[in-house]
């Protein structure tokens, strides 16, 4: 299985290459990618340099252009695909059908991967993408169990990439307007979720309250570490119940299931985290690289080291195991 690693900056990109990535994915510094955060992502020149660095070390570069084109501004997305192709991206990762159609027409030789944001969660959906756009690989939404993935792999003529480590969307990706409902900024249109521009921490007595837009997302008593107010990881009241209504503040870690994913027919494991710093990227990539090749006796130590790197050090296997539902 290939190891697909995130890079939000040229420095993180080089770290990922040096730490053992098979491919590094990144995006341009604008709304065309789903990690459109201040200070992140690549200019055209930076991408050119990065691709050359990777290629010299036999590592691939995937360019994520995985938001949805805004009507009337399609040129921004077209230019991103044109430039990624011209700069030699080994694949473009796309979510928008209109942009996929453009890519097939203008750059028929460009390898096309389907972003998780396209929400292809079953064999017929993947067949649509293969037939309409000659997609070579699909990144599966985090809604499937390993058994679901194994069954799917047998039915499609397309490689499968799955998320193995990092942030976890609770909702089907690319089909969530929670952030724009609360802030006006949408993952699909603006490439952001629960954006920092709308986050506020407000002391209230001995508590610290985290807010997103006009809404309280969590409240932390003194002594409890205050997390980032990602909307779907917030604490809410439902009838008489108070708690994490959608998901606890955990991150995804399925490294305990490497062999099962391999047996299921997965071609590539993806690490989430383009917003993370270069030290984090270097550490996670190198540990995961070793975990992929390690024997059964050596692996548990590596897996526990990964857990220590996770958000709040709490992890879940998410939808990969049926009981999560």
């Amino acid at each position: 299985m290939e190891l697909i690693c995130p890079a939000g900056t040229p420095a993180a990109f080089r770290e990922a290459v040096d730490a053992g990535a098979d491919a590094v994915y990144c995006g341009f510094r604008d709304e065309t990618n789903a990690r459109n955060f201040p200070g992140l992502n690549f200019s055209r020149d930076e991408l050119r340099t990065a691709i050359a660095y990777a290629r010299g070390r036999k590592v691939m570069t995937f360019v994520a252009i995985n938001t949805f084109m805004r009507a009337g501004q399609e040129g921004l997305w077209h230019q991103a695909v044109d430039d990624a192709a011209a700069l030699g991206a080994d694949a473009v990762i796309l979510a928008d059908f209109g942009l996929m159609a453009y890519t097939v027409e203008r750059h028929p030789k460009q390898r096309l991967h389907v972003s998780v944001q396209a929400s292809a969660s079953n064999a017929d959906a993947v067949r649509f993408l293969v037939e309409a756009f000659a997609a070579k690989r699909v990144v599966l939404p985090r809604t499937l169990t390993i058994a679901d993935i194994a069954r799917l792999a047998k039915q499609i003529d397309c490689e499968i990439e799955v998320f193995a480590f990092g942030g976890l969307c609770v909702m089907a990706e690319g089909r969530c307007s929670l952030s724009s409902y609360a802030t006006g900024k949408s993952p699909n249109m603006n490439g952001v979720c629960s954006p920092a521009s709308h986050v506020r921490y407000r002391p209230d007595g001995r508590d610290l309250v985290s807010e997103l837009g006009d809404y309280t997302i969590n409240r932390f008593p003194a002594g409890e570490a205050a997390g980032y107010p990602t909307l779907c990881k917030g604490r809410f009241d439902i009838a008489e119940e108070r708690g994490y209504a959608f998901e606890d503040p955990v991150s995804l870690d399925v490294m305990d299931h490497i062999e099962a994913l391999r047996a299921a027919g997965v071609s590539a494991l993806k690490i989430e985290g383009r917003q993370r710093g270069k030290a984090y990227v270097a550490e996670v990539v190198s540990v995961m690289r070793r975990a992929l090749t390690a024997g059964a006796t050596e692996r548990p130590a590596l897996v526990s080291r990964l857990k220590a790197l996770s958000e709040g050090q709490k992890t879940t296997t998410g939808a990969y195991e049926k009981r999560w539902r």
Binding site: D96, D124, E131, L178, T183, F236, I238
Partner: protein, 312 residues
């Protein structure tokens, strides 16, 4: 002198009931729609959760018959999230066996319906004219645009695709997200695989409040909806002028025939949007209205007609 052809007035369409209602309630709801509501297109069927299908199945035949006898055009909704083999089979069966047009709510139905006329539901991502064109080239004849789309995008997409009927989500709690996990079951200490159809206890959704007691969202099984009710009334003339041909009402647990009459009155110019809004608040009380998405703002907000005019 050039003659300007004013676009024909939009007609009303009714989206599928997103909530779990018991069979008789569901049937009676559509009987009333058939008899009383000025609605041209009705989409029925379960879009949210495959586990719920058996509640409505016994009544689908009689509901279709009643609606069609009343002159309504009926479509059947496909599931929004298809992950299990059983769910794939359900969608394949729907496409194979149905004599009615299918509303596509997931990509699997797009594959199965290639080349056959069908409609696209609001849960498929159509954010630009190129995507609408691609879908139309594969058989889509009508497209309900995503609720979060601002008016500028609506106008651009409609302009680029003159042969397609476009629909805008104008009334109802907004479907904001869907998950493999059931937050509704989770909130009552259950999990999806053993949910006891607990979502049936909340026929208009279960309110999620912030820790400061501010109503925020609503749970509907695996779907998360807005607390607010999207209500595009003052925007109807603008939507009509842009060439939008259908106005979608999404069923809430209130008198939807009355809701339809209000929208019909505004479209026909018999009632002002302001007066309509006050009447609507009486029919669907205790639920704030929102239209922020349409104005490119925070989705939960309400932009008054005056403020909306200033913003433009």
């Amino acid at each position: 002198m050039t003659l300007s052809t004013s676009p024909s007035k939009p007609v009303l369409s009714l989206g599928p009931v997103y909530y779990l209602w018991d069979g008789p309630k569901w049937r009676d709801f559509y009987f009333r729609v058939a008899d009383e509501a000025p609605i041209a297109h009705v989409t029925i069927g379960e879009a949210v959760c495959s586990k719920r299908l058996h509640f409505i199945e016994p009544h689908v035949g009689e509901v279709i018959e009643r609606l069609e006898n009343a002159g309504k055009q009926v479509s059947l909704a496909s599931l929004a999230l298809v992950t299990l083999e059983r769910e794939s089979q359900l969608v394949r069966g729907l496409v194979r066996d149905s004599a009615h047009s299918i509303e596509v709510n997931d990509l699997s139905a797009l594959h199965l319906l290639a080349g056959k006329p069908h409609s696209i539901g609001p849960l498929v991502n159509v954010y630009n004219g190129a995507t609408a064109r691609l879908l139309a080239s594969r058989g889509a004849t009508s497209i309900c645009l995503p609720p979060e789309l601002p008016m500028g995008s609506v106008r651009g997409i409609v302009d680029e695709n003159p042969g397609v009927d476009f629909e805008v989500f104008a009334f109802g709690r907004v479907p904001l997200a869907i998950s493999a996990r059931c937050a509704h079951a989770r909130s009552k200490g259950l999990i999806k695989d053993n949910c006891q159809f607990i979502c049936g206890e909340d026929p208009d959704g279960l309110t999620v409040e912030t820790l400061d007691s501010q109503p925020f969202l609503a749970l509907n099984g695996v779907q998360t909806m807005s607390h607010t009710c999207q209500a595009l009334l003052q925007e109807l003339p603008e939507l009509a002028a842009a060439g939008v041909s259908r106005i979608r009402l999404s069923p809430q647990d209130c008198d939807m025939a009355a809701v339809a009459h209000i929208f019909d009155d505004v479209i026909a110019g018999r009632r002002s949007p302001r007066e309509a809004q006050a009447t609507l608040a009486g029919i669907y009380p205790n639920r704030p209205f929102s239209n922020g998405f349409h104005h490119g703002q925070t989705g939960a907000t309400w932009i008054s007609a005056e403020a909306g005019a200033e913003a433009r």
